[in-house]
């Protein structure tokens, strides 16, 4: 008996991408048009949840209308918990007005409750708990998901859980369909337990944040909640030079491409940004050691990181992995920093800084 090898596909299967790389597509008819990668970019199916039996609630704070990655992770956690068991609706309560271009359908939110009163931006935790208790009573959600953040989320989660007498799990770094895990004993032990009713998650509980479907969200203004009386308080920001690098929101960073540090400091002063530098600049003594960004320096969590004349060593890129928007200015178009940056300017650092200074001084 002889075994005859059968070719199930033609040897010419696959296709050539725009970059000129040949890709092999298995288990598909390779002659048809459907093998083109663009065919998969079809619209995602819409998930409707009108006849859902359960509710889940996510509570977030919108800072300047934006959501952080951690906020999106919390929504994903609720979405994933809603996918387990019978059909469920994901509600999201947002303190502060969210940006209108936020794609809540893409995040998987079914109902968006917005509490955009300015007075909630003051320190009014009791009023927030009251509003949350009101919504909790209406929806009776199975679980409430918070993020662990110093913007008031951690505080609100604990106040709410204690006020309502619900089981609470905070600082969660792992959430599964039946259990949660957190650290205790100053990080030496792990405490695991069943899913609590109130969860406060740290970053890293989820993997990929993309969903394979979209929802049809509708926005509801929260009713029946009295706006609190704003307390007498004053909010101030430390001078940008005094802000520790790990805390800074807007960082301007100098690399080896910056020849004139006076121009750099002048620009930092005009932009009111916190000054930082790469290892080379710090080694040269142009900036103090605590201003070094990177694996051996500080890990920056800025919303905007302006990298001037930094080529982007791996150690430096590790230090800016948590930054939201990276703007790079470099004369070398092929450097690693420009690959990482969201916006890059190909220009000489000194000329660009002078142009920035004259533009800023021109507009009083």
């Amino acid at each position: 008996m002889s075994i005859r090898r059968v070719n199930r596909f033609t040897q010419e299967r696959g296709f050539v991408t725009a970059e000129g790389i040949k890709r092999v597509a298995r288990a598909r008819d390779v002659t048809g048009l459907d093998q083109a990668p663009a065919a998969a970019a079809k619209a995602k199916p819409v998930r409707h949840s009108e006849n859902a039996e359960r509710n889940l609630l996510v509570v977030l704070h919108c800072k300047a209308g934006e959501l952080s990655t951690l906020d999106r992770e919390a929504i994903y956690v609720a979405r994933a918990l809603s996918e387990m068991g019978s059909q469920a609706q994901v509600h999201t309560l947002v303190f502060g007005a969210p940006n209108p271009n936020l794609d809540w359908a893409e995040f998987g939110v079914d109902q968006l409750h917005v509490l955009a009163d300015e007075r909630f931006e003051h320190y009014v935790p009791e009023a927030k708990v009251q509003a949350l208790v009101h919504l909790h009573g209406q929806l009776e959600p199975e679980r409430v998901v918070f993020v662990e953040s110093e913007l008031g989320d951690s505080d609100l989660a604990r106040r709410f859980a204690i006020a309502q007498g619900l089981s609470f799990g905070g600082d969660l770094y792992e959430v599964t369909d039946h259990s949660v895990r957190r650290l205790s004993g100053n990080g030496r032990y792990q405490a695991s337990g069943p899913l609590p009713q109130v969860l406060a998650v740290q970053s890293g509980t989820t993997g990929d944040l993309d969903l394979e479907f979209v929802t049809a969200p509708n926005t509801v203004a929260v009713q029946g909640v009295d706006a609190p009386v704003a307390p007498e308080e004053s909010l101030f920001s430390l001078p940008s030079g005094d802000i520790p690098l790990v805390e800074a929101d807007f960082v301007i960073s100098a690399g080896n491409g910056v020849a004139n540090m006076d121009t750099f400091h002048r620009l930092a002063q005009l932009l009111d940004a916190t000054v930082a530098g790469s290892r080379v600049v710090v080694d040269d003594g142009k900036l103090p050691r605590e201003r070094q960004v990177g694996a051996t320096g500080q890990i920056v969590k800025a919303s905007v990181y302006l990298a001037i004349g930094i080529s982007g060593a791996v150690q430096h890129l590790q230090g800016i992995k948590d930054c939201n928007t990276v703007i790079a200015v470099n004369s070398d178009e092929s450097c690693d920093m420009i690959k990482r940056a969201d916006v890059s300017v190909i220009a000489d650092a000194e000329e660009w800084m002078q142009a920035m200074i004259s533009a800023l001084e021109g507009t009083p």
Binding site: T17, E126, A163, F168, L183, N186, E247, I338
Partner: protein, 249 residues
Amino acid sequence: MNLTVLISLGRHPKSGRLMLSPNDARALAVARRLSDSPRLVHVGEASQQQTLRQYLGLGFAAIDLIEAVPGQDICGVLIEDLRRNPCDLLLTGERAQGQDDTGLVPYILADRLQRPLLDRVLSIDAQGQATQFLPKGQRRVMALPAQCIATVSENAPLELEYVARRARQGVINVLPGNTGDCAQVYHGWQQEPKQPGRTRLSIQSTASGWDRFAKRMNTTGGGGQVLKGSPDQGAAQVLSLLRDKKLVP
């Protein structure tokens, strides 16, 4: 001012030995600026007195140690003690560093004692103005409510110095706790040595292998917007981006 500071025992992050909790030492530094002799209260085992003396070394004369067995509800013990010895201001660290570390104790006390709670305080001045920590270099100053509980931020400075002579000279008053009808708290948490790694939550994919493959093919490889042109044009574009983000007026 009648001031009480709650102190707990922390655990060294490397060796695991019991030690003073830096968070509570921060609370003591805030208290020291308001009063020369605040009352220090600890709930725990009497056998840990030697470790507890580290707090005395920071410059305090006495500690009230209320005895409790491991696993006992310390909030119940504390509430009974605080009702007997009322105070104007109750200070404590943001969270324990070596126990359960949930940070719930001040919230439970505030709820049961019906007192306002102020979290993440950096400092309190003599006029009763508290500075609160906010991220990104922001600070908030507000008046401290009467009869309140305040937790001190992890970002507050560690100001007090340890002196061994003070640690030896100080007194620890061991007080009996209400061990009779103590509630054994069990939150369903199981504690074990830390294991590396974690399972990340993900929604089970319903897409076919072809779809996943096509999705990989569709993703464009890194890199954002690249602006070429004169430095002036580049500067104008970056400035408009910064204005959109409200970082530049």
